[in-house]
């Protein structure tokens, strides 16, 4: 671990620059993706990636250069390139960063169980083959797949103010999906995949529930195939954590990103229905809504000690008892806006610059068991596992769809329904939050696929949430 520290430190010390500040962020990544589809092992896909981003500040203007040439000459070339670019754009620059403080922190951070042995490749294939084989023989089951992603990432950040921040992380992404087809309609049911990932080791596979899941996932796909469509109308909506994560992500996370509010993302990811002056008093949701930026749940995907600009990360309330408190804004956004933020300046790799991102964005548990949540609904529907997401560029009008729906009548769970969709408007939706599940309903989830930024970046984000109930929501089904 951190084997490249000494040579990198030496090369950083040897760099020459006329800039008032410069930094180097080195990233080394290894990925492995394995899959067994319909009992056939697919070829393994491996990635070995390393490179560095050099950032300079010249008279308050910053620019960067990214390179995979990590020799002394290569790093110096990139630094010179960044410095030349900073001077070239100076006359056109939006920001004057001469007064922006820089990090001088020194610390290490590691994922939980980082040194524990992960199953060897052949053992992983065996595990996946076992799950694939457990899908029962049924001519309606036309496709199924068990998969396992493994990523290890080491990052070393050095800067001319003396900072040295190292982090080593391991991420695990198990998954299973089954598709059933009746000659006209098809329905899929999944476990994990884009809706689950954690830091850790083999323990993550166990927590995901992949072991022994094949038969159950297949059974649920067949149940969906036989189920009626979700009826249209207004109902109370019970969202389980694997849909709550998407709801949090799209209609709390993105609108609270400070760079969107400052207009940086207007050409691509979009803007926000939230304005800078809303922080401190806007009633975002009902009094039951407590949302935190929490980098301290060890297994959650975006737990870390410092962000990619070197800002120390601490748990912060973004929304407390329904009131909007602070944005998702890193050091630069805080400097630009004058608002307090969080340590969420993140880059997807060595070839992209840090920007405001979600990290771990969670909803704090309430006081109701799942039975109490269901028992409190007169006319409603339970939905779980996201499969479709769409929201406007201000992150307001949304429509989401799930794999699994189950009607609730008079406080009791009733039949399964297929194609459960719902729509609403973020600005009002969270004020309809009427009950929040307790710790027994709380799950730590996350996704590897959050896209944003120009140039584009995909990062891992964590979302932990209890099950939640929203009153009077417009729900509907599909065409067939």
């Amino acid at each position: 671990m951190f084997d490249f520290t000494a040579p990198l430190r030496q090369r950083f010390t040897g760099l020459n620059s006329g800039a008032e500040f410069f930094s180097l962020r080195y990233v080394q990544e290894a990925h492995q993706h394995l899959s067994v589809r319909k009992n056939i092992a697919e070829p393994p896909s491996l990635t070995r990636d390393q490179g560095a981003m050099l950032t300079v500040r010249v008279n308050g203007v910053e620019a960067y250069a990214a390179t995979a040439d990590l020799s002394q000459a290569g790093l110096q070339r990139a630094l010179d390139q960044a410095e030349a670019l900073a001077r070239q754009i100076a006359r056109h620059a939006l920001l004057d960063l001469r007064e922006q403080p820089v990090s001088s922190a020194r610390a290490d951070y590691c994922s939980p169980n980082l040194n524990s042995t992960f199953p060897a490749l052949a053992d992983c294939y065996e595990l996946l083959a076992r799950e694939s084989a457990s899908v029962p023989g049924d001519s309606r089951l036309v496709n199924w797949q068990a998969s396992l992603g493994l990523s290890t990432v080491e990052q070393i950040y050095l800067n001319s103010a003396g900072a040295e921040l190292r982090q080593a992380q391991r991420f695990v992404f198990p998954g299973m999906s089954v598709t059933a087809f009746d000659g006209s309609d098809s329905q899929s049911r999944s476990l994990g995949r884009e809706n689950f990932g954690q830091q850790g080791g083999v323990d993550v596979i166990e927590r995901c529930g992949l072991l022994g899941a094949g038969a159950q996932v297949a059974d649920q796909a067949l149940q969906l195939l036989l189920a009626p469509n979700t009826p249209s109308g207004v109902r109370d909506l019970l969202l389980m954590p694997d849909q709550m994560m998407l709801q949090i992500h799209e209609s709390i996370g993105h609108p609270l990103e400070m760079d969107r509010i400052l207009g940086d993302e207007r050409n691509y990811a979009g803007t926000s229905f939230i304005k800078a002056q809303d922080f401190g008093h806007l009633q975002y949701g009902s009094a039951l809504l407590n949302v935190t930026f929490d980098p301290a749940i060890p297994e959650e995907l975006a737990s870390y000690a410092h962000d990619d600009d070197g800002t120390p990360a601490h748990k912060q309330f973004l929304i407390r008892e329904g009131v909007l408190v602070r944005p998702l804004g890193g050091a630069l956004s805080q400097f630009r806006s004058g608002l307090d933020g969080v340590a969420n300046s993140r880059a997807c790799g060595w070839n992209r610059a840090p920007i405001d991102r979600m990290a771990n964005l969670n909803i704090e548990p309430g006081d109701k068991s799942l039975a109490q949540l269901i028992g409190g609904i007169e006319h409603g529907i339970l939905m779980r596992t996201n499969r479709s997401w769409s929201i406007d560029d201000a992150r307001n009008k949304f429509q989401f769809g799930c794999e699994w729906g189950q009607l609730i009548e008079h406080g009791e769970l009733k039949g399964v329904v297929k194609n459960p969709n719902y729509r609403g408007i973020s600005a009002g939706f969270w004020r309809n939050l009427s009950a929040v599940g307790d710790a027994s309903t709380f799950q730590v989830l996350g996704t590897p696929n959050c896209g944003k930024g120009e140039p584009n970046q995909v990062v891992r984000v964590g979302h932990a949430s209890p099950a939640c109930v929203f009153s009077q929501i417009d729900v509907f089904g599909g065409d067939a």
């Binding site: 092992a41 697919e42 070829p43 393994p44 491996l46 990635t47 070995r48 990636d49 620019a63 960067y64 990214a66 995979a68 040439d69 290569g74 990139a78 390139q81 960044a82 670019l85 070239q88 754009i89 056109h92 620059a93 939006l94 920001l95 060897a120 490749l121 052949a122 083959a129 496709n143 598709t179 087809f181 006209s184 098809s186 899929s188 207009g263 940086d264 207007r266 050409n267 691509y268 979009g270 803007t271 070839n351 610059a353 479709s388 997401w389 769409s390 929201i391 406007d392 560029d393 307001n396 429509q399 769809g401 896209g451 120009e454 140039p455 584009n456 995909v458 599909g478 065409d479 067939a480």
Partner: protein
């Protein structure tokens, strides 16, 4: 870099040919870019940087098994040979540990392809001056991306392909003080000040309409014109498995009913994966030369996009599709509606410049939802009346491009991908606008 991308690639291929011997086989897929990215906000530079990157995907095949390793290259030949050596050693260790692959299919032909477009790139200082001068007091936001892109392929069977192009893409929006915006794009190989000024003037003209009082529509059904950029979003959604041989066979395609013969689109719809004349390489990362593929003819399904693995599994012929089996040069044939007649033919309804964030409400039914974004107008009697607030649609492609499709425009737009996930992309689409009799708005 110490060596040019082509020399670096050739050096790696030569090393592999010396070090991988039958019965082992290899394929090597290479990509590189030297890009400059300049972000703008409020017509000033928000963030700027250079990215120099190269990578290679090495596939090793032996004893009926295959494994892939993607490695980042430094550009320094000796170091990259060492990295390739390590990658090869790792793959040799892995192969005996994995099961034999019944769907292993290799293209053993020794094809050759070489395309280089290395005209000079725009001078950054001049581009910055032009953008600042052109924008003036406008609230411009966006990104300028420029530089050479390379793709290469080689195999132990003697195949070799090289594709290199210099290009720039300035993707931007102009915002009115009321928050409404118009989207524009200026891309190509040679920066022409006059052409850029014309593009900016067109956007500025639309911006003036956006200053009118906003019209809020009730959910319901409306006549609508979908401009090529809006059509690009719809076609982009269909590309998610729509034409993929594996998705169709696995009943995970939005067009599975079309390919099963149970549904059809309008006879006006003719879709081709038009590789010839596009900016995409003439070969796939799997090592197949690519030619044009007719996907849809007069609203009926024709060929699918089939990669090597699908070809083996579903007993089809591989036709140069990449691993994900998405189109990269999608072409929808033109219709007969002249561009200057669009507003008159629309009469009363919606003029939609762009759509945003589409996804499926019901995938087997090809029913999709999404939102208007950028310059959507309410039109009455062929005259633009007012910008329209963001609205959500929810409709099936079998309706939009089927029973409700009235006309396609005679003029088409070549839309170059602005995607930079991982690296700058080379995909494009060539699309007309579409006049539809009924678009369902839901929120």
């Amino acid at each position: 870099m110490a060596a040019s991308p082509l020399h670096n690639f050739q050096d790696l291929v030569a090393w592999l040919r010396d070090n991988v011997r039958a019965p082992e086989q290899f394929t090597l897929s290479y990509s590189a870019e030297q890009s400059q990215f300049i972000r703008f906000n409020h017509a000033r530079v928000r963030q700027a940087g250079d990215v120099q990157q190269a990578g290679a995907s090495l596939k090793l095949i032996a004893d009926g098994r295959q494994a892939d390793l993607h490695l980042t290259l430094s550009g320094e030949p000796a170091l990259d040979r060492e990295r390739l050596h390590q990658a090869l050693a790792e793959l040799r260790q892995i192969l005996p540990l994995i099961p034999a692959d019944p769907y292993l299919l290799l293209n053993d032909s020794a094809w050759h392809s070489h395309q280089v477009q290395d005209g000079p790139l725009p001078d950054t200082a001049r581009v910055l001056e032009q953008i600042e001068h052109g924008a003036g007091a406008l609230d411009l936001v966006g990104i300028y991306a420029a530089g050479p892109i390379s793709r290469g392929f080689a195999s132990s069977f003697g195949a070799s392909g090289w594709h290199q192009a210099n290009s720039f893409n300035f993707d931007f929006s102009l915002f009115h003080a009321n928050g409404q915006a118009v989207k524009a794009n200026y891309a190509g190989q040679v920066w022409d000040n006059a052409a850029f000024a014309r593009r900016l003037a067109q956007a500025r003209e639309q911006l003036e309409y956006l200053g009118r009082p906003l019209k809020t529509l009730a959910p319901g059904q409306y006549r609508a014109y979908l401009a090529p950029a809006a059509m690009d979003e719809i076609m982009g959604m269909l590309c998610w498995g729509g034409f993929s041989a594996q998705a169709i066979a696995s009943k995970d395609s939005p067009l599975q009913r079309l390919y099963a013969g149970d549904a059809a689109l309008s006879p006006l719809v003719n879709i081709t994966e038009q590789v010839s004349g596009s900016l995409s390489p003439a070969f796939s990362g799997e090592g197949y030369p690519r030619s044009d593929v007719q996907l849809m003819d007069a609203g009926q399904a024709r060929e699918q996009l089939t990669n090597a693995r699908s070809a083996a599994e579903f007993e089809q012929v591989a036709n140069g599709a990449e691993a994900h089996e998405w189109p990269s040069a999608l072409s929808l044939a033109a219709g007969e509606l002249a561009l200057d007649e669009v507003l008159a033919r629309l009469g009363t309804g919606l003029y939609i410049s762009n759509l945003w964030y589409l996804n499926y409400s019901d995938l087997p039914a090809a029913r999709m939802t999404g939102l208007t974004r950028f310059a959507t107008f309410w039109v009455e009697d062929g005259q633009i009346q007012a910008p329209v607030s963001t609205m959500r649609f929810d409709d099936s492609v079998y309706s939009l491009l089927g029973s409700q499709l009235e006309a396609l425009t005679t003029e088409r737009e070549l839309i170059l991908s602005t995607s930079t996930y991982g690296q700058r992309q080379t995909s494009s689409s060539h699309l007309p606008g579409a006049l539809v009799k009924r678009l369902t708005l839901t929120l």
